[in-house]
C-alpha cells in the first residue's frame, strides 16, 4: 500500500480516531493500522496517552476485554468530532488545491 507521511499534521488522537473509524481495535491493532495507512509509528507511551485522553473526553469507549487485550470503538461524539475535523481538513485542502491550480 502506498503511504505518505502526515508530518506535523500527524496528531495522534486524530490518527487513532481515523483508525477506529474502520472498526473497533485494541492498542496493538491501532498501532499497526496507523503504521499501514499513515506510515507513522506511535510509541506505546504516545498511543496510550492519547487513548486515555480520548476516553476521558468521551470520544472513544472500551469494549469488554478479550483475554488481556481491550478493544476500543468510537462513541457518537467521537464520530461527530472526527467528521468535523476531517471535513475541516477537506475544506482546507480543497481551498489550497484550488489556489495551487491557479498558479
Amino acid at each position: 500500500m502506498d503511504t505518505f507521511n502526515l508530518g506535523r499534521f500527524s496528531d495522534p488522537p486524530i490518527l487513532i480516531l481515523a483508525s477506529l473509524a474502520g472498526s473497533p481495535k485494541h492498542g496493538y491493532a491501532i498501532m499497526e493500522d496507523i503504521e499501514a495507512f499513515a506510515g507513522i509509528h506511535l510509541g506505546p507511551g504516545t498511543l496510550y496517552g492519547a487513548i486515555a485522553r480520548l476516553e476521558t473526553q468521551g470520544l472513544i469507549e472500551p469494549l469488554p476485554a478479550e483475554e488481556r487485550r481491550r478493544p476500543y470503538r468510537l462513541t457518537a461524539s467521537g464520530v461527530a468530532f472526527l467528521q468535523k475535523q476531517l471535513t475541516g481538513l477537506e475544506t482546507f485542502a480543497s481551498m489550497g488545491l484550488q489556489r495551487l491550480a491557479s498558479i
Binding site: G43, P44, A52, E55, T91
Partner: protein
C-alpha cells in the same frame, strides 16, 4: 519483560490499574525498541503530570518561564554572593563566571521559556475560542514591546547627549561597556519586537484564511 514492567511502574497507580495489563499485552507482541522505551518514559512523565488525563493538556509547560526566571534570579544572587575581594578567584574565572554564566543562563532561560510556551500552545487542548481571545492581549503586548523599545532608544540617546561620561564608562551588565550593553539590549528588543510583529501578522492572516475556508 522486566524492563517493560519497570517502565510501567513509573506510571501512576490509577493509570496502571486501568491500562497496565493491555499495554503489557501489546508489548508482548513486539520487541521493545530503544525509542519505544524512551517513549514509555515520556508517557510516564506525562501521566504523572496529568493524573486526570484529558482535562489539563500540557499547560504545565506554562510554568517553565517562571521556573526559568527563578533559575536566572538564583544565578544573579549567586554571582552577587561570590562578588567580594576575598573570593580567591583568578581574573579569568571572574570574567567567565560573571559574563559567561550570566549570559549563558539568560539566553538558555529565554530559549527554554519560548520553546515551552510554543510547545504548550501547539499541543494543548485549549479551546479555539480561547485562542482567538488571545489575539487581543497579543496585540497589546506587541504594541507595548514596540513602545518600550522606542523608550529605550530615546533614553539611551538622551543619556549619550546629557551625560557622555556615563555612557562611555563600564557600568553595563556585569561590568561590560555601558554603550555595548545599551546597544545589545536595543538589538535584542528590536529582534523580539520584529518577531512578535511577524507572529501577529501570521496569526491574523491564518485566522482570516480559516474564517474564509470555513465560511
Amino acid at each position: 519483560m522486566k524492563i517493560q514492567h519497570a517502565l510501567l511502574h513509573l506510571y501512576p497507580r490509577s493509570w496502571r490499574e486501568r491500562y497496565e495489563d493491555e499495554v503489557l499485552a501489546m508489548l508482548e507482541q513486539r520487541s521493545l525498541s530503544f525509542t519505544d522505551g524512551v517513549n514509555l518514559l515520556f508517557g510516564a512523565l506525562d501521566a504523572q503530570l496529568h493524573p486526570h488525563l484529558g482535562t489539563n493538556g500540557p499547560l504545565f509547560l506554562l510554568t517553565v518561564p517562571i521556573l526559568a526566571f527563578a533559575v536566572f534570579l538564583g544565578t544573579t544572587l549567586f554571582l552577587e554572593a561570590i562578588d567580594h575581594p576575598g573570593n580567591n578567584l583568578s581574573p579569568v574565572w571572574q570574567i567567565f563566571l560573571h559574563r559567561g554564566l550570566f549570559f549563558g543562563v539568560l539566553i538558555t532561560a529565554a530559549i527554554v521559556s519560548t520553546g515551552a510556551v510554543c510547545f504548550a500552545v501547539v499541543r494543548s487542548e485549549i479551546s479555539e475560542k480561547l485562542l482567538r481571545f488571545a489575539v487581543l492581549p497579543f496585540i497589546l503586548a506587541t504594541i507595548s514591546m514596540a513602545l518600550i523599545l522606542a523608550a529605550t532608544i530615546i533614553w539611551g540617546l538622551g543619556l549619550r547627549d546629557g551625560a557622555p561620561q556615563l555612557f562611555a564608562g563600564n557600568d553595563g551588565i556585569v561590568g561590560t561597556s555601558t554603550t555595548g550593553t545599551w546597544l545589545s539590549i536595543v538589538i535584542v528588543m528590536a529582534i523580539a519586537t520584529l518577531l512578535a510583529v511577524i507572529s501577529l501578522l501570521r496569526g491574523l492572516s491564518a485566522r482570516s484564511a480559516l474564517r474564509t475556508a470555513t465560511a
